[in-house]
Symmetry: D3
Subunit: 135 residues, 6 copies
């Protein structure tokens, strides 16, 4: 039933994106409420509730896709928060962005790191940077 | 030392991409051998040898970035093989691509699935599709 | 109810994309059946069934978005057929692609025109090209 | 004659983009005046003056292409104003952006909606959101 | 006068892209002749005839932009031929593509090199690869 | 040896991007120092130190690739400064961006020009715009 799809999507959204997700949905109320409805029902009710990947892995996939697409900094900010909310350590987020360098180049990764820094600072998180391996 | 960086990168490339990786490097020998060198030294020697993420997670990030960028089907094919080589089950690969739908849309995901199907068929792999959750 | 969403989406898909749409869904049966389900339920059941735009306008939007994204030629082929199926004359399709030149450049438009030509030829359609205005 | 092409392009630009278009051209005067000239002569003199599509349809195509490309918010703002200027109701603009979700994903559409909201607010326009169809 | 613009554009197109450019224009004759007209008048008559950059530099810019955009292999093929036609040595083309690696990543550059190899082979050109500097 | 690669990369970075480059590397110190290391070692130590293209040509390639990718304005700003630092006249930079119009469309070029204007203003540079050729 649609209602149930909406409700379980909303619960998942709250679990992952917390306040950031709620703010996005609220901002759509006046102009495009159905867009908020689809984000909840489809993105969070259908996709994020699927089995086969942990929430942690789903957020990893999401932030990598957003970083690669470019120009999605507001959404990247919401989902870096989401990744932290479901327990991804900040070091892993930085490491995931470094893995993108050979595939999408330095500029998109630099933009992603700037966004991550903003999120980490807002949560008073410090990062213990991974050492690169000795040769 | 540069030699050591090259050698450990080449070992990592062999471990992950096997024959597919070797074919890419070989194809560059006549026209742009240094491009092959940089793929080995930088992508595989520097980045893929870092700590902080498993090879499994690195390949997940790579295939999501390639799918999102679009137009990278040859590289996606190499790295879907790489993901399988480091133990990612085909079901997880499909599931990861589904997670991209809300962020990059159906067309890029359809292209990714076509490429995955080609790789799975070439390896005689069948996929036990994840059931979507009951509501 | 989910079933009704699926059924009305499937009906809309058949109406717009006909055989081409069915072939896409069928090709997903073995590897990612839920992807087909989401295309039907979400893209066609939720979005294409909305009011406020004609089917004709929806297909126009879809082919322009696919052309601009690049690398989506298989999907563009399906939806150029879809645009024709809902009554968009081939001349309008060509004209819509020309309107994209200042915004996305000649190469993407050339790729779109090659795809359109392939579809028009397969349906034995000829195009009466619009004359550019005299000055 | 070149002059005539420029003049009819400038008239069309004024008709569609009004003050916003003029500001873009003026901002180029010191640094790249020929870029302004080409926008007027080619985009507006050649393309926007063609027959075969209404101005309304041309603006629809333009905003969809800009939304899909990403990173073109300043131009999207000018052309959402343009779409309103040639009579496209705000509801149709929102609806057109929703149609893009399955093809380009939620993030680009969210960015487009934020830009639309900014334009609508600056013109004191409210949107009567389309209801999604009952099932 | 328009005719003069067309003629000088056609001359420039012939000078740069030779047979490849002519084939593109011819392929548009039935379906979108005005697209060919705009390529000649605007791209080659207006832009390529400007002063301030050599033809060699213009082709360098064009192939880098096409490689970065992705999915433009047919146009990249035409313009790699164009770069060779105006005297750019194959070594410089390869070197230019390597310069793109840090900015756009390995996959787009690999696609560009595959296209370059195809063009060089069709012209029986061999490449003397640049040695990377000793450290 | 790695140290030498780093040192010669750092020297090249200082030569090209000056203060702007240093600021980027410094901003990464807390969150992702290895990203700064790779920019210096790989982008500047490996790629920018290669023979076969002048620094002037390398910066031209870089700014065209960044403009085409879109959403890379911070990096474009650094490298427009870099292009000026290695002797590219502002007129050439503007001209290079105009050459991109037929391939990537007006919006990306307008964004590039806005960034160039910001850089030129910060350096008190005026541009003597190229006249378009008489017909």
């Amino acid at each position: 039933m649609e209602t149930k799809r909406y409700e379980s999507g909303a619960a998942r959204l709250a679990e992952i994106d917390g306040e950031g997700g709620k703010r996005v949905i609220d901002s759509l109320r006046e102009i495009a409420p159905d867009l908020g409805k689809y984000i909840i029902e489809f993105a969070f009710g259908d996709i994020y509730r699927r089995e086969g990947l942990s929430l942690w892995e789903r957020e990893l996939i999401t932030i990598v896709s957003l970083l690669t697409a470019g120009g999605c900094e507001p959404q990247l900010e919401v989902h870096i928060n989401g990744a932290l909310n479901v327990g991804m350590p900040p070091e892993k987020i930085v490491e995931a962005f470094l893995q993108c360098v050979p595939y999408t180049g330095f500029p998109r990764v630099l933009n992603g790191i700037v966004t991550a820094k903003k999120v980490f600072d807002s949560r008073n998180l410090s990062v213990k940077p991974q050492k690169s391996p000795e040769i």
